[in-house]
């Protein structure tokens, strides 16, 4: 049925191409901190850990949202944030067991992976297959 992004930290080299592609696609600018995919880097040991939304079957973020701003997209079923309805309460950030939801302090809205309508830019640009798109179900 759906798609999911799968990460492999052992392959990630910390180039941040995924964050750059994501922020350009969703925000029209290069701003890694506004990306829906987050790479946590530890430069002293050159470690990097990519983190993306797991697109849970029964998403806690959807349940936590008091205004119903997190909705499944008709195209892919992936849950996205309706920024018109989002009130910036951050309940979804708290509810996500994976820490995969970020926040844009300037716009006051949650930032969450929407799978780019089925063609995630992060997986497309990842040079080391640390983020891949897999079909599931």
């Amino acid at each position: 049925m759906g798609h999911a992004l799968v990460t492999d930290p052992a392959r990630c080299t910390g180039c941040l191409q995924c964050e750059l592609a994501c922020s350009l696609k969703h925000e029209g600018v290069f701003a890694p901190w506004l990306a829906r995919v987050v790479v946590h880097r530890e430069p002293e040991t050159c470690r990097a850990f990519p983190n993306v939304c797991r697109h849970c079957d029964d998403p806690p973020c959807v349940r936590a949202c008091p205004v119903g701003a997190l909705k499944p997209s008709p195209a892919t079923g992936a849950v996205y944030v309706d920024v018109v309805e989002c009130i910036g309460c951050r309940e979804c950030l708290e509810a996500c067991p994976n820490g995969s939801i970020s926040f844009d302090p300037d716009k006051g809205v949650a930032l969450k992976c929407d799978l780019c309508n089925g063609e995630p830019a992060c997986a497309k640009v990842c040079p080391s297959e640390a983020i891949t798109m897999e079909r599931c179900g």
């Binding site: 941040l16 290069f30 002293e44 050159c46 640009v125 040079p127 080391s128």
Partner: protein, 649 residues
């Protein structure tokens, strides 16, 4: 700040403890290509002839590329430009890592540092503050400890730190500037220049987005570039084995500089190679610089000796310098030497070079076999002695004992020691040569001789002359009319190749790209760079205009040296490479000569529009490039100069 608006220059005066911001028109990014080009323009305009590279008046310019901060593949690099404490001439030294993107996201395109702080200082640059911090408690710490403690004490886990190690603090002329822990702007002693300013570190962090004129077009060309890199065999090779992967092939060509350039071949080159790193379990993980899909950077750990020794690297230059140069055949020893250079902030090329010179000097009886270690002990100067090499690295960084003799570079060391030792001091312009054999590679010989910073591969790098790849052979055919000129031992058409590669390198640095992608693999072409710059700025620039802008930058940098009195007489190669033949099994007479170099220099100067006798830009050339003010400055300097002062640090 962004690639699509004005260029924002942050100026910091350490003496006055004040900052200012200047906006340059975006057109300057096309005229001078961005980062390095603008930095060289600032350096030329804002320093005078004969300025002291370690004095108050010294200017250091930190210039991320114009595309740094974007997704342009490999565009994470920063060039540091200044007057070299090692050579007394122009220096640009470039580093990867993530620092440049950090400066961009803090809202600045270029950082200009001048003056001297009254006590150890660090700078914190974010999009809300530029702060002068007290670095007294960081002074004396190594690069890793400094970076770690600053992140902790500033409570900014994702801050990126550029800093110097103890070598820079001690004005060692082999000291570089390090960033993101293990990435070095190593060459030319710019770490000593930072140390003389009492500036220990520059921490950057910010959240200012990069906006481009045409994001959709930029995305399209970046995708095209990314796909080309992924499909280029040489890029895959560097991803798999790192830069040290070329040790084996270089050795097979008998062009691996062994034992201070006496030989070109060693028996067990595999033991110091990138293949060995990857296949024998030394490689812990690969790392990328910002936005780089190649990931040639290594993070490695020693396995048997030196327990706990781990660090970023080693690169080709480091294992070639210590492994082949000093004859350390055990990978563990190379990894420890690499780690020490990293954390002490030393240029591994120059450090290993002075150590090789010391070993050879002891062998030939010009210096004693045993020398003072500065701690009441003695060390033995002997080829292949790992304990001596590792001790000497620290002695150099702290100027201890005999290390003080070596700490000003190999030219100065030979002057101090005397005798014939200058003959095996493998330097020109006062800079130690990188680990590249030029006696069987004539474009390299010319590029090393004309390089304004000294004899190394990071100004021209005419790899195409070897014809290693389809991309390289295509380029030679396009420049010379026939792929048969992709032959390293001939001199025909080599000046053309060198001129093209220097121009490509100026574009590469100025846009913030990596020469791994543009030159040693030819994955990114100047046409692609023109397309990326056009999409980013909204100003249409053609490939030809990119070359013209690159010539502007190269002329400026040449003019900086000409103003100091340098010219044709300084466009030379180390004595050994001009006078001693490289033994080889192919029976090639492998040596450079005055005659051969002279012929290539004449042709090269003609291509550049420079005076053949003096080797400096003609006024008409400068004027035609729109550098009339540079021509005037040069005229004034030439009239005032005392000829004997040329090029002295």
């Amino acid at each position: 700040m962004s690639s699509g608006c004005d260029i924002i220059v942050l100026r910091v005066d350490l003496s006055q403890r004040c900052t200012s911001v200047e906006r340059l028109p975006l057109q300057d990014a096309v005229r001078f290509l961005g980062g390095r080009g603008l930095a060289s323009r600032i350096l030329f305009s804002e320093t005078g002839r004969g300025s002291d590279p370690l004095g108050d008046e010294a200017v250091l310019v930190f210039a991320p590329g114009h595309l740094t901060g974007t997704c342009a593949p490999t565009a994470g690099r920063t060039t540091v430009v200044g007057k070299s404490p090692a050579t007394g001439l122009f220096m640009k030294s470039s580093m990867g890592g993530h620092w440049g993107a950090g400066l961009k996201f803090a809202g600045y395109d270029i950082l200009v540092v001048r003056g001297t702080a009254s006590r150890p200082t660090y700078l914190l640059i974010t999009d809300t503050v530029v702060q002068f911090g007290d670095a007294s408690h960081y002074w004396g710490l190594d690069v890793r400890e400094t970076s770690r403690r600053m992140a902790k004490e500033l409570a900014m886990p994702d801050v990126d730190v550029a800093c110097i190690g103890p070598s820079g603090e001690n004005n060692v002329k082999l000291a570089g500037i390090m960033c993101t822990y293990y990435h070095a702007a190593a060459r030319g002693g710019l770490g000593a220049a930072l140390g003389a300013k009492n500036l220990k570190a520059i921490a950057v962090r910010g959240h200012t987005p990069m906006r481009l004129a045409d994001p959709a077009r930029f995305w399209d060309v970046s995708e095209q570039v990314r796909r080309r890199i992924v499909a280029t065999g040489r890029c895959k090779f560097y991803g798999k084995y790192g830069t040290a992967g070329v040790v084996v092939g270089t050795n097979e060509m008998e062009a691996l500089p062994v034992q201070n350039f006496r030989r070109g071949y060693m028996e067990n080159a595999y033991s110091i190679s990138g293949q060995c790193l990857t296949e024998k379990g030394y490689l812990v993980r690969r790392e990328s610089c910002f936005a780089c899909p190649i990931a040639c950077k290594r993070y490695s750990a020693a396995r048997e000796k030196h327990p706990g020794s781990e660090a970023g690297g080693p690169e080709y230059e480091t294992v070639a310098a210590f492994g082949a140069g000093c004859l350390l055949e055990d990978m563990d020893d190379n990894l420890r030497a690499n780690e020490l250079c990293n954390i002490l902030g030393l240029d591994s090329i120059s450090t290993a070079s002075v150590i090789q010179w010391a070993f050879e000097s002891a062998e030939r009886g010009v210096v004693p076999e045993y020398v003072d270690d500065g701690r009441g002990g003695r060390i033995r100067l002997a080829w292949g002695d790992a304990d001596a090499v590792l001790a000497l690295i620290e002695m150099i960084a702290y100027r201890r004992g005999f290390g003080d003799v070596l700490a000003d570079g190999v030219r100065a060391a030979a002057q101090k020691v005397g005798g014939d030792s200058w003959r095996w001091a493998v330097e020109a312009k006062g800079l130690e040569q990188s680990r590249v054999e030029t006696r069987m590679a004539k474009a390299y010989a010319l590029a090393f001789a004309t390089n304004p910073r000294g004899p190394d591969h990071l100004y021209g790098q005419p790899m195409a002359e070897f014809g290693f790849s389809p991309e390289a052979r295509d380029l030679v055919r396009r420049l010379t009319g026939d792929a048969k000129y992709a032959d390293p031992v001939i001199t025909d058409h080599k000046p053309k190749l060198v001129a093209w590669h220097e121009e490509c390198f100026a574009m590469t640095d100025s846009l913030g790209l990596c020469s791994r992608a543009t030159l040693s693999t030819y994955a990114i072409t100047p046409a692609m760079m023109a397309e990326m710059l056009s999409a980013a700025t909204g100003l249409e620039v053609t490939e030809d205009e990119m070359h013209q802008a690159a010539r502007r930058v190269i002329n400026l940098e040449r003019a900086f040296n000409a103003r100091e009195g340098a010219g044709r007489k300084d466009d030379r190669l180390p004595w050994r490479l001009m006078h001693e033949e490289l033994p080889n099994s192919r029976g090639i007479k492998a040596v450079n000569s005055e005659e051969e170099l002279g012929t290539m220099l004449d042709e090269y100067y003609d291509i550049r529009g420079w005076d053949r006798d003096k080797g400096i830009p003609k006024a008409s050339t400068l004027v035609s490039l729109g550098l009339g003010d540079v021509a005037s400055a040069l005229r004034t300097a030439t009239a005032a100069r005392e000829p004997s002062q040329a090029g002295k640090p």
